[in-house]
Symmetry: C2
């Protein structure tokens, strides 16, 4: 993974180095947390990529579950219990799942409680002719008290009960130790995986939350973690190799001094859209408090060039753009003589070359209009590259929150709608 | 469809009625365009819902194609040639397509030119054992000179040639009359459908662009159009029944006097996410010019309550929210005794009731924090309700653009990246 910022970030060297200086004491705290595997700190998620004990527990449960015949993993979870896993799954498998009907195992995600979706899910799942060793249901809820996974969890269990005598064997619950969900599961004899107490949902992808379902469906977890671990160490340095630090410094300068209110994350590999949704929660929920915060948006190249790019180029200059793309694409050639032949220039070209031209055309236009941006470049779309990106971004947000003087780890206003919802639900 | 704005729009009656007065002459122009079927005007899209001649042409081609055995419709198109069709398809079928593997016909969408996606699409499509009457490829490009549909179109045709002797029978091209694509298709003997010259991509869903593929896959086109037609007539009135007018007045007031820069479209039916993407182009490309414009965002309830709602409730007050949801959901009941039983309140409830409570909890929190919003309520998710919404929104954006004094129908800055891309492509 490369992070390019020198030419078009719209941010002076001075403001970057001043931010680095400001963050020096905080980097020490982060470094100490990671080195001492100190799970008592808010930054506990930094311990995950090198937590062999936790990884052993996940592996042991995978071993126990005997997954050689697995066809479906049903994950029940919302927000931080869903978005990280979905980001990685969609990038590697999900985007083309409907084009590979015979590829297994597949993950089916249950997040919100949409009655129409649940109806069709139930019809499908009930009708599936499956053996016990062909399905695992993973119910994931940090607090164990969120409404949506409770609803979806009960519905899935009802179907499991109809299908299998020994339905509990097909279930795994991932939650905080001793949460109501943990206690229920243990009492019923369902296997449990623990989320460390100080690892919040949006920082939990490298815990059992993400590792268990992703390992089940064949994602290269070893590569994911080792690559994230290298990135973590890089982003604990106090120099220009620390991408997280620099990115945070740029975003902070743009927010506080350049009138930027939106951070557009522009992915030129469409399979990364769910990765954008993961980052959207990370940035939105971590920095959006005390009346400040950048609003994260997701754009997809090249589709959104034909949608919102008119606004980006011609509208108000209130956006900072983070381009993300892979420099290594699969080779797919266009025929050397075209049939409809409306655009001569594409004949015989590779599709990747055409996309490169479109992307370079886009960044050139941004440059000409002085719209500030950075580029993050993946060497191919792999578990390793995605792992590195996620670790980079989680640390960027911790550093950005420090600069903004907001707590990167809480979400106090979310309680507001939850209280109202509970009042309404109690009356019904 | 209902549009509620009276209680929480954050906009005074006075500013609404002043906007209505300002727009009176423009409404007359729109009315004249619709009544006279005047396709020479910028507002030509207003003629579509009552254009029986155009609808006859679409129907005649459907008749000719003999579609009783159809399994796949492959649409090749991007931006305005794709988003409207996908919005309606996803709302009615797409969200649960993977849960209904036996339901046909299915639409496969080819928009951007992602080499990885194209590789898998080609593998899938080549391996499919299909007869000629089981597939239709619809290549849609207004100008006929866009790169992405040209690339994807050539690739699909290469595969068709390998599969069928009479491959041209399976193709339909939708484009401007006498565009390069039109001329190529006619020369090859491929059936063509016309997009009226002054109907731009983002306003074209009720032309052959949307009607042909949607009718092929079984969407109730008659209902879509009649419902949109009723909405059009309502939105040509000069009174408080004109939702488009009122919504435009509110958005204008928020943009110019209340510091709002983002219009968040918050859909509480997750199957409407693609409808949000359609609207995102409509608003972004129509109003984002001359250095002004609202940035449209899409949020999905309840998933995004666990993602960006902390930012919406606790971050900067720079957003205007348009809630959209259906008041009629499918009945699906939770068991009366739960197994994990972590939340007592959900036992025996219907899933729709739980969602209602979550949504009401959310709007109550917005109200308490004085965050301005409107509500658009569908009576169920149907072609008719979606058609009404799309017509409402297209007219809202025309009226809003008038108030902002921007041209709702051009996209001048998009040329900037296209020019750069063509330079790069020519050199390769």
């Amino acid at each position: 993974m490369q992070f390019l910022y020198k030419n078009n970030s719209g941010t002076s060297k001075l403001s970057i180095s001043s931010a680095i200086e400001k963050l020096t004491p905080y980097i020490e705290i982060c470094k100490g947390t990671a080195q001492n595997k100190d799970y008592t700190k808010n930054e506990a998620s930094l311990c995950l990529v090198s937590d062999e004990e936790m990884q052993k527990q996940v592996n042991a449960l995978i071993e126990k579950k005997k997954i050689n015949n697995l066809k479906y993993i049903i994950t029940v979870g919302i927000g931080g219990s869903n978005l990280g896993t979905k980001a990685i799954y969609d990038a590697i498998y999900g985007q083309v799942d409907h084009l590979q009907p015979e590829r297994y195992p597949k993950i089916l995600f249950l997040d919100t409680t949409n009655p129409e979706f649940i109806f069709h899910f139930a019809q499908f799942f009930e009708a599936l002719s499956l053996r016990e060793d062909e399905v695992i249901v993973n119910i994931i809820s940090k607090s164990g008290t969120n409404t949506e996974p409770a609803v979806n969890g009960e519905i899935v269990i009802e179907i499991l009960k109809k299908k299998f005598n020994d339905w509990k064997k097909t279930c795994v619950v991932t939650t905080d130790k001793n949460s109501p969900l943990w206690n229920s599961a243990v009492e019923l004899g369902i296997d449990v995986l623990e989320i460390p107490k100080n690892v919040g949902g949006r920082y939990s992808v490298f815990s059992a939350v993400g590792l268990f379902p992703l390992a089940l469906c064949g994602v290269d977890i070893k590569n994911l973690l080792s690559s994230a671990s290298k990135m973590r160490d890089l982003c604990l340095q106090k120099n220009e190799h620390n991408n997280a630090l620099i990115s945070a410094a740029i975003l902070y300068e743009q927010l506080t001094n350049k009138g930027v209110v939106i951070n557009d994350n522009f992915y030129f590999n469409s399979e990364l859209e769910s990765l954008g949704k993961w980052y959207r929660q990370l940035m939105g929920e971590s920095t959006g408090k005390n009346g400040i915060g950048l609003t994260p948006t997701i754009s997809i190249g090249s589709a959104d060039l034909h949608s919102v790019v008119q606004l980006y180029l011609g509208g108000p200059k209130n956006k900072y753009t983070s381009f993300v793309y892979s420099s290594k694409d699969r080779e797919y050639k266009l025929p050397s003589t075209n049939t409809l032949a409306c655009i001569k220039e594409i004949e015989g070209k590779s599709v990747g070359d055409v996309m490169d031209a479109i992307r370079n055309g886009t960044t050139t236009a941004y440059k000409k209009l002085n719209l500030p941006y950075t580029e993050t470049i993946f060497e191919g779309i792999s578990a390793g590259e995605i792992g590195a990106y996620m670790q980079f971004k989680m640390m960027e947000i911790m550093y950005l929150s420090q600069l903004m003087r907001v707590n990167a780890f809480d979400q106090p206003q979310v309680e507001l709608y939850k209280i109202e919802t509970k009042k309404i639900l109690a009356k019904k």
